[in-house]
């Protein structure tokens, strides 16, 4: 072996920032190889995947629309992840946010009140947090693993949404399709910029990045979360209450996912469907990690992961490739990130001849 691996005396700060970039580059190289294997011209494939979706104003708007729920949920999940509290139930929490907000929209479908939208957001936040309460309660009171509980609740949440759209809330004039009525104007988010579909929901996401930044990096409770994650024993030594961390971590994720659910149904979708999210809840986990559990990084990584979504749709239309390619890219991105993080604590050294 020419190289030898040795631990660095100190974790490398440079590598902390570089490793996401290395991961992106590695993902692109592997993507290139995949396109070659599939017999596609890599240049046109790359163009279709990464350029085409965002080469006009409308496309950029779509990118931000897709990035919006990702950054919102990403920041929310980060609150928990920093304390090693693994909420992977954002998909279900998003669905429950949509259910609660959608209920308001359907119930008040004849109202023109300006309070419908705020009311929907409150209801959606409640729905998401309610769904996150369950793993928090079961973890703090019964020591049940939050990963498994929150994951199981994904399925349950999505089934509830499906149940409602197939049943009680099915549009009577919808030709039997499992979907609700189209929301009235008062339950839809206003468009911010003409010529795009950019809706007011993105303001919430940008706000979340800002608040998350201050909360996670400057506040006492942000510090407590970080300590709980880095050294559980140190947190209990310092008297930080772990149960509080669990509640905080899970509820923040549930709140964010619930709000994202509302933004989706009252923004781009405009009604309740059996499926309101193309896996945002899972993709947000990748967003959070690739963003280094830092709001600034999450902002950037949410744009990247959003581009992967758009790219998947684009190659499906242009190159006749299945959009599942998105999932492969997402998985690879996280793999490469985790692998590249090795360089934070270790370095390669040329083996000298002894």
């Amino acid at each position: 072996m020419l190289f030898k691996i040795e631990p660095r005396p100190d974790p490398s700060k440079k590598m902390k920032y570089l490793s996401p970039l290395i991961a992106v580059v590695m993902m692109l190289i592997t993507g290139l190889i995949i396109f070659l294997i599939l017999g596609k011209n890599p240049v046109s494939a790359f163009h279709a995947f990464f350029i085409e979706p965002v080469n006009d104003f409308y496309g950029l708007g779509e990118l931000i629309i897709k990035a919006s729920p990702l950054m919102l949920i990403g920041v929310g999940l980060t609150v928990g992840f920093r304390a090693n509290i693994w909420n992977i139930g954002a998909e279900g929490q998003l669905a429950m946010g949509a259910v609660f907000a959608g209920g308001i929209a359907i119930y008040f479908s004849n109202s023109t009140s300006v309070f419908i939208i705020p009311f929907m957001f409150i209801a959606g936040a409640f729905g998401g947090m309610l769904w996150a309460c369950i793993p928090a309660f079961l973890k703090t009171e019964f020591n049940a693993n939050e990963i498994l509980v929150s994951l199981m609740l994904n399925y349950v949440g999505i089934l509830i949404l499906s149940l409602l759209t197939h049943g009680y809330w099915k549009d009577p004039n919808g030709y039997g399709f499992p979907q609700s009525i189209l929301f009235s104007e008062s339950a839809l988010l206003p468009i911010l910029i003409e010529g795009t579909r950019l809706h007011a929901g993105i303001i919430i996401s940008f706000l979340a990045i800002f608040i998350g930044w201050i909360f996670l990096l400057k506040s006492f409770i942000g510090f407590q979360l970080q300590v709980s994650g880095l050294a559980y024993n140190a947190a209990s030594y310092a008297g930080f209450k772990y149960k509080k961390m669990v509640w905080f971590g899970l509820l923040a994720g549930g709140l964010a996912a619930g709000l994202a659910g509302v933004s989706e149904i009252s923004g781009p979708i405009g009604q309740l469907l059996p499926s309101v999210s193309p896996g945002y809840g899972f993709a947000a986990i990748i967003v959070a990690f690739v963003g280094r559990l830092h709001p600034g990084g999450i902002f950037l990584s949410s744009l990247l992961v959003a581009l992967l979504y758009l790219g998947g749709e684009s190659v499906q239309m242009n190159l006749d490739l299945p959009s599942a390619v998105t999932g492969i890219f997402q998985g690879m991105l996280l793999f490469y990130l985790l692998a590249a993080d090795f360089l934070i604590n270790f370095r390669f050294k040329v083996k000298s001849k002894l």
Binding site: L138, A144, I147, L153, I286, P322, G327, A339, F342
Partner: protein, 309 residues
């Protein structure tokens, strides 16, 4: 309600539990070595589609199983490389494996969603299968179900009677001491993770080739996660794993029969049952912190590498 329906439910329960038996026994061995692999769902999916394609192309069950195992092993190797060689966080790596597995299985399987496989008839054991009642209960299954019982016996023997099993348990409890005594902690853990991958692969094959038999995107539908929960539920004991797996098989099967009993309930509610059952079971078993602490491998989920010591 007649005895035939009950028998049918029983036999179907065993079949429904078998993918879980494989995946959970595999995860049990992985966890016994101290590694928590949350990528079972992903490995099962990739195993399922690989086995399904192999079956559709060749019609050979043996070949399908081998392909599924190979696919599961490949997936587990990615995970093992990340967490054992590169010392990545096990939770994050497991999640990545699942996300990747969902993506790649959907991608590979795109052309197979409408392919129908011929079902494989259960083994027909001369005389035994024809005995009324007994024959139905004990001798009416397919080969992989019998194999899973052989596997169970093998694992019990391995864990509690063999030196290799003793080493595995020791490594899972205290890798540092294991290293000091001269065992290759990383090597042993690689093997344990690979075994877990192979078993998850078979679990997937069983689901796609024998149980359903067809390919649907994301068809594992949480069974990988339920398998992980089963290992906790079983407090890391193989016999309890299999009991738990059949219990969940039963919950799944009840869905299909409950409406037959004349109970009006929407299908979505019934679909929730296995997931809710998992949560309930987890709560019951985790309630006592000490049972978990005493039975779980002490180093579970923590990174170990000799270079960092």
């Amino acid at each position: 309600m007649n005895i035939d329906i009950l028998l049918n439910i029983f036999v179907a329960t065993i079949a429904a539990g078998t993918p879980l038996v494989y995946a959970a026994l595999g995860e049990l061995i992985t966890e016994k070595s101290g590694v928590l692999n949350l990528g079972v769902e992903g490995m099962m999916l990739v195993g399922a589609i690989s086995g399904f394609i192999a079956m559709a192309k060749t019609g050979s069950l043996v070949f399908a199983v081998l392909c599924g195992m190979a696919a599961g092993i490949l997936m587990s190797l990615i995970f093992a490389f990340l967490v054992l060689t590169l010392m990545a966080n096990q939770v994050a790596s497991g999640l990545a494996l699942t996300i990747f597995g969902i993506g790649i299985s959907a991608f590979i399987g795109i052309d197979y969603t409408s392919v129908a496989l011929k079902g494989i008839p259960p083994l027909n054991i001369p005389f035994l299968s024809d005995i009324p009642f007994i024959g139905r209960i004990f001798f009416s299954y397919d080969i992989l179900i019998y194999l899973s019982l052989v596997l169970l016996t093998g694992i019990i023997f391995f864990l509690y009677k063999s030196r290799a099993g003793l080493i595995l348990r020791a490594i899972g409890e205290n890798p540092k001491s294991g290293h000091a005594l001269g065992f290759s902690v990383i090597g042993i853990r690689y093997l344990a993770v690979i075994f877990g991958g192979a078993m998850a692969g078979i679990g997937g094959v069983y689901l796609a080739v024998l149980y359903t038999p067809m390919w649907v995107e994301g068809m594992v539908a949480g069974r990988g996660w339920i398998s992980i929960a089963l290992v906790v539920f079983a407090t890391w004991r193989p016999l309890r794993v299999i009991a738990g797996a059949y219990l969940f098989g039963g919950v799944t099967i009840i869905q299909f029969h409950i409406q037959g009993f004349g109970i009006e309930i929407s299908s979505q509610f019934l679909c929730m049952l296995p997931y809710l059952a998992t949560i309930i079971v987890l709560v019951i078993i985790s309630r006592n912190k000490n049972t978990i602490r005493l039975n779980s491998p002490a180093s579970l989920g923590t990174t170990y590498h000799p270079a960092t010591n």
